[in-house]
Amino acid sequence: MASVTITNVWKYYGKTVAVKDLNIHCEDGEFVSVLGPSGCGKSSTLRMLAGLEHISAGDIHFGDMRVNELEPKDRDIAMVFENYALYPHKTVYENMANPLRLRGSSEDLIEKRIAFAAEMLEIEHLLQRKPMELSGGQKQRTAIGRAIVREPKLFLFDEPIAHLDAKLRARMRGELKLMQRRLGTTMIYVTHDQLEAMSMADRIAVMHNGVLQQLGTPQEIYNHPVNEWVAGFVGEPPMNFFDCELVEEGGRFVLVHPAFRQMVSEAQSALLRGALRGTSVRMGIRPDQISIGGKSTVESVAGTIKVTEPLGGDTLVNVDLKNAQLLVKTHPDFSGAMGETCHLTFDTGRWHFFASDNGIAYF
């Protein structure tokens, strides 16, 4: 087991910058997920941790040991690749035995470890098959099995379940999390799927264009995104954004949008007062922080229902405001026909304001 410290790490491929000045510290035994859209430098980061990619600048430490120049085989890590990367000509058993064989373990030990891993992953009956004869989920379990037989210092998982179907993915999320908790091994888990990151990780590192945006617990990332990009990327369905103006009235701010006027609370006004630059802000509010109903109230905003999408457990409602659109998530028995007028109430305690120039969050 070891902690992992990434200090001012850069990665260049020729002129392309894949990772910019990355700093992440990951505690011993922690499950850290690196989350970001495709091409944001997640795999590059992981491959530098594995020693498969040269580190252009900066340092990586495992515990106190600097590993920049260490060969992959000397780093005592185990990696699961996005495309599984099994040895096609070897059986599942031999695939899993390989890391132990390379380290000269005895046959007894190999058998014991594989039996343990195979039972945990429920692939005991597949041990004599070749990868070609396995389904995607089984291949992926084999790849994980190969990673866990050795009890390494650090797990590196690169989108291991991205190619599975939705149902299997949901199950694997739980299983992987349980597995990591049981083994207690430090885990760095790369994914573009926020659901995976939110549900499994102790902490999430959100990356965008090679830059770390925010590092925090799933709750922090979800409830206190540091900027507009993180707020928009995390959360499903995504957050609604509005370009607004702030005017001061009687010691408090009022948020003005062509379609609505909303009072800003005392506490939020206080937060804005020191920091605010200019008068325009971007307001962000999640679809489940808006309630929708037929009756108008003092604070409510009138809109027109454009379309409703019943999802079973919830219903999504697309609403047209005067010159904006928004998405509301409401209870499944919401009845509103297309074109009807509806009244929206914002949960103003939980909305977010972002600077309109650089997207940084005021709160």
């Binding site: 594995a50 020693g51 498969l52 060969e71 992959p72 085989k73 890590i77 185990a78 990696m79 690749f81 996005e82 495309n83 599984y84 990367a85 099994l86 040895y87 096609p88 000509h89 390989n98 890391p99 390379l102 380290r103 990868p131 190969r146």
Partner: protein, 292 residues
């Protein structure tokens, strides 16, 4: 594999086409097999019987071809009087040796060209292939001079080296294509598992086995059929089958029977090699793709 059945409907035209194809194949078969067949039959004939031919156009007398007492005296002559066992051995060693050396060096070179990025890689690769672009005769004289300097003329080592000179670029070129098709991730997984670069290279060798098999055959064929190098570099101590056969044509006495027998001795091993490795050849040369 998804089903790739294609539904076809028989039309008069397609039936006619089938007939034409069968006729063509029949002719082609005769065209291909007949010389080999004649060679094979004649090698068991005594010289007189070999020249008994039916008159032109007299197809009814074709049985005259088969009306002979089989004899193995030509083979006996080859191996006991003319020393063909040595020449056969020379051929096997020269062809096999150069194939093995080319594959060992070629696979390592191809692997590094496929995997490692370094300055001037494209130029280096082109230079390697370009050595194959010059015709063999163009390099024969300088090669002869160099080999004589090292006392390699007339030795098996000399022949192996000469064939390797020509097979190695070819090996690198073919095998690089096969390595390019092996996903990086497999050897990366191997390195993370704890292997060195060289162990990782060995771990993916089974995946390029079709390529190696295909190349071995091409390499052996090139050396086995070679006449030019064999008669110049190998002349003297390391005579192989083709020049040895050529020597059976003497001004006052063309030993047809022995020539036919030598032809059989030269052809049969390659035919068996072809049969043995046919599966590899087809998959090797056509697909080359190795998917995980």
């Amino acid at each position: 594999m998804a089903s790739r059945d294609v539904v076809t409907y028989k039309t008069p035209l397609s039936r006619l086409l089938n007939v034409v194809i069968v006729i063509f194949l029949a002719f082609y078969l005769v065209w291909t097999i007949l010389p080999l067949f004649l060679m094979f039959v004649s090698s068991f004939k005594d010289l007189l019987a070999a020249f008994q031919l039916p008159p032109v156009g007299a197809f009814s007398q074709i049985g005259i071809f088969f009306d002979f007492e089989p004899t193995t005296k030509h083979y006996y002559n080859l191996f006991y009087n003319l020393g063909f066992s040595t020449y056969l051995m020379n051929s096997i060693i020269a062809a096999g040796g150069s194939a093995v050396v080319s594959v060992v060096l070629g696979s390592m070179a191809a692997y590094s060209l496929s995997r490692v990025d370094f300055r001037g890689k494209g130029d280096l690769f082109f230079w390697i292939i370009s050595t194959r672009m010059a015709p063999v005769v163009a390099v024969l004289v300088p090669l002869y001079a160099i080999f004589r300097g090292f006392d390699l003329i007339g030795t098996r080592t000399g022949l192996i080296l000469a064939y390797t000179t020509f097979n190695l670029p070819f090996a690198i070129w073919i095998l690089k294509g096969f390595f390019d098709n092996v996903p990086f991730a497999i050897e990366e997984a191997s390195m993370v598992d704890g292997s060195t670069r060289f162990q990782a290279f060995r771990a993916i060798l089974p995946l390029v086995a079709p390529g190696i098999g295909a190349f071995l055959v091409l390499c052996v064929l090139f050396a086995w059929n070679d006449f030019l190098f064999a008669s110049i570099i190998g002349s003297g101590g390391a005579k192989t089958l083709p020049p040895a056969t050529r020597e059976l044509v003497q001004p006052q006495n063309i030993q047809w029977g022995s020539i036919m027998a030598a032809g059989v001795v030269t052809t049969v091993p390659m035919m068996f090699l072809g049969l043995l490795i046919r599966r590899y050849l087809v998959t090797g040369l056509t697909m080359g793709a190795v998917r995980e």
